[in-house]
């Protein structure tokens, strides 16, 4: 039999439900795998061995008692360390929260527990989700399982690397400007940013509240859909949560794989089709092949011109830091986390400034100051105000595009995984990694990245990005599953079979 840690989430759940294996055996296989390989990958900041085994034992007890198990019962998962977990450390990749044990569960955490998902631990990330390489983690970078000298993407590099190194079949990420999709692309895994408001933000530590969105990460489109359904849905504790039924994403994934995408209108975004500067040849090649593949599957390909998308990156780097500067004001050293300089002589305000200086890393400081700058009087209209107007234009371009196409496609990232250290102290170079993913966050609609091949020049994974209108997340899964099935047929084996042995 295949190693338990190589199974997909759907296969794992089925094997547990049928009694072929137990949830405890599955959890132990993954904990052993973590013990064996995570020293090299560093996908986890904290492994909750006891909690995982207790959750697994509960699943086995339910089955023994004849209870019906949910579709993901007993399936292990890596939870991004941005989500609060009662009794389990939550650091957000920051020194300022080192050792913090949250007194409450995020709604996503609670839903995972209710679905009997086995949370293995907390995955590494760029500090407060700010970054595209996981190098901004205060606890050291995560490494890409495809090449340990390279970045696994970010901010959710830990989640993506855990999947690609077979430490977990499922993971949770968050996507403010691409932090689910970009790590998915550079690790050969699947990542979905649901429609804004589709998954609760309660207990997900806020970075940029109008953009932040939690979502599923997996090794297959169907697994991502199963996880999507488990965590999505209205939450009265999040005022931005959408009070409407969750799109039927699992059904869409099954339909896409079985029925394909004949007749579907696929829009190729001219601005991101790889003609501009900075696109790697192998990325453009795999993307163009994917478009041809969709055409051969019966999709109608239309070219989409969305001129405002060229301004999404600068608009994002004004809006996100502005919201960040306000959100991160909560780290004042008074109620939780680090406190520095409380010696009786320093005032509360001085203690706050000393603590934030010691507790935040360079990128977080840069963004807080950039946001403070963009929001300050005299600059507000030219920067933040203007960025908000550009945001309107981007939404309008999407509206026009979705009149002509059911989904849009582009490469997820302009390049494959770059080397650790290469862009670490060059913010503008780092920001370019999210060039193609950002417009979706600004418009609040839905996006997916799935692997579409290896770039010939470096043998590293390339991601295909699919975008759908708000609350049409099911279209991502339909197209994603169809492309995934066609590629699997072409390749004869899943892309992750080519990951070097750790």
């Amino acid at each position: 039999m295949t190693e338990l840690y190589k199974l997909t989430a759907a296969e794992t759940a089925a094997a547990i439900a049928s009694g072929e294996t137990s949830a405890v055996e599955v959890a132990e296989a993954h904990l052993d795998r973590i013990a064996k390989v995570d020293e090299k990958v560093h996908a986890f900041l904290h492994v909750d061995t006891e909690g995982a085994l207790a959750a697994a034992r509960a699943v086995d007890a339910k089955r023994a008692a004849g209870e019906r198990l949910g579709p993901l019962a007993g399936v292990p998962l890596a939870l991004k360390d941005l989500f609060t977990t009662r009794g389990v450390p939550t650091t957000c990749g920051s020194r300022i929260l080192e050792g913090w044990i949250p007194p409450y569960d995020a709604t996503v955490t609670r839903r995972l527990r209710e679905a009997d998902v086995v949370v293995l631990g907390k995955s590494n990330m760029d500090e407060f989700a700010m970054g595209s390489s996981t190098e901004n983690s205060a606890y050291g970078p995560t490494r890409n399982p495809w090449d340990l000298e390279r970045i696994p993407g970010g901010s959710g590099g830990g989640s993506a690397a855990a999947l690609a190194s077979f430490q977990a079949p499922l993971a949770i990420g968050t996507d403010t400007g691409g932090s689910i999709r970009q790590p998915g692309a550079v690790t050969g895994t699947v990542g979905v940013k649901p429609t804004y408001g589709g998954v609760s933000r309660y207990g997900m530590v806020a970075f940029s509240s109008s953009l932040d969105q939690g979502g599923p990460c997996a090794r297959t489109v169907l697994d991502a859909a199963l996880l999507h359904e488990a965590i999505a849905g209205h939450d009265p504790l999040d005022s931005t949560s959408i009070d409407a039924p969750v799109p039927a994403v699992v059904e869409a994934a099954r339909r896409g794989a079985a029925e394909g995408i004949k007749g579907l209108r696929v829009g190729v975004v001219k601005q991101f089709s790889g003609e501009g500067e900075g696109y790697q040849a192998g990325v453009v090649q795999r993307f163009q092949e994917s478009v041809e593949l969709m055409r051969s599957l019966g999709a109608e390909i239309v070219e989409i011109d969305a001129p405002s998308f060229d301004y999404a990156l600068p608009a994002y780097y004004l809006i996100a830091p502005s919201e960040c500067s306000s959100n991160l004001a909560r780290f004042d050293a008074m109620r939780y986390g680090l406190r520095v300089g409380d010696d009786g002589a320093h005032s509360a305000e001085e203690v706050t400034a000393l603590t934030r200086e010691a507790g935040f890393g360079a990128e977080v400081k840069r963004r807080i100051m950039l946001g403070t700058y963009a929001l300050s009087s005299g600059y507000y209209d030219a920067y933040y105000g203007q960025a908000q107007k550009v945001r309107t234009l981007i939404i309008r371009d999407f509206e026009a595009a979705f009149e002509r196409a059911d989904v849009l496609v582009s490469p997820t990232t302009p390049t494959t995984a770059f080397k650790i250290g290469e862009r670490a102290d060059d913010p503008m170079a780092m920001y370019l990694a999210d060039l193609c993913t950002i417009p979706t966050n600004l418009a609040g609609n839905a996006g997916m990245s799935l692997p579409c091949g290896l770039a010939p020049e470096d043998g590293l994974p390339v991601g295909l990005q699919i975008l759908a209108p708000a609350m049409a997340d099911d279209r991502l899964y339909r197209v994603g599953a169809a492309v995934e099935a066609a590629l699997l047929e072409q390749w004869g084996r899943p892309i992750l079979d080519s990951v070097p042995t750790l």
Binding site: I101, P103, Y196, G197, P236, L237, S239, T240, S308, Y311, P314, A315, Y317, L318, S325, A329, D332, M334, R335, Y336, G337, L338, R339, D342, G344, H346, S347, A348, E349, E350, A353, L354, R356, E357, F360, A362, K365, R366, I368, M369, L370, T372, Y373, S376, Y383, G385, Q386, A387, Q388, K389, V390, R391, T392, L393, I395, P427, M428, A443, G444, A470
Partner: protein
């Protein structure tokens, strides 16, 4: 490129409650200058009659009855919360002095 001076960074750091080091002031001045220069491109698009968007999807305020929350709603446990505070005293957060010496 919009240059950002060392003095401007020091001002931003004060507003942001960051006690930056001397070396950081120089380094961030250069980097923030480059970033601001790049993001200023948002000004190139004509936007005279374009309304700003703060939130992509329509938002309405959410209200609830002013009653004790139903069972199952997470309510923070005081002991658990204070146990995670940097300092606690008499069942409250203990904070450094707020007023100056004089």
């Amino acid at each position: 490129m919009s240059a950002i001076t060392r003095e401007e960074v020091a001002h931003l750091a004060r507003l942001s409650r960051l006690e930056l080091s001397e070396a950081e002031l120089d380094h961030f001045a250069e980097q923030l200058g480059a970033i601001v220069g790049a993001v200023a491109r948002v000004g190139e698009l004509p936007t005279q009659d374009v309304p700003p968007t703060s939130h992509a999807l329509p938002m309405t305020n959410v209200f609830r009855e002013d009653v004790v929350r139903p069972d199952g709603t997470p309510i923070l446990d005081r002991t658990e919360v204070l146990g995670q505070a940097p300092a606690a005293e008499e069942n409250r957060f203990r904070v450094p002095r707020i007023l100056g010496e004089d």
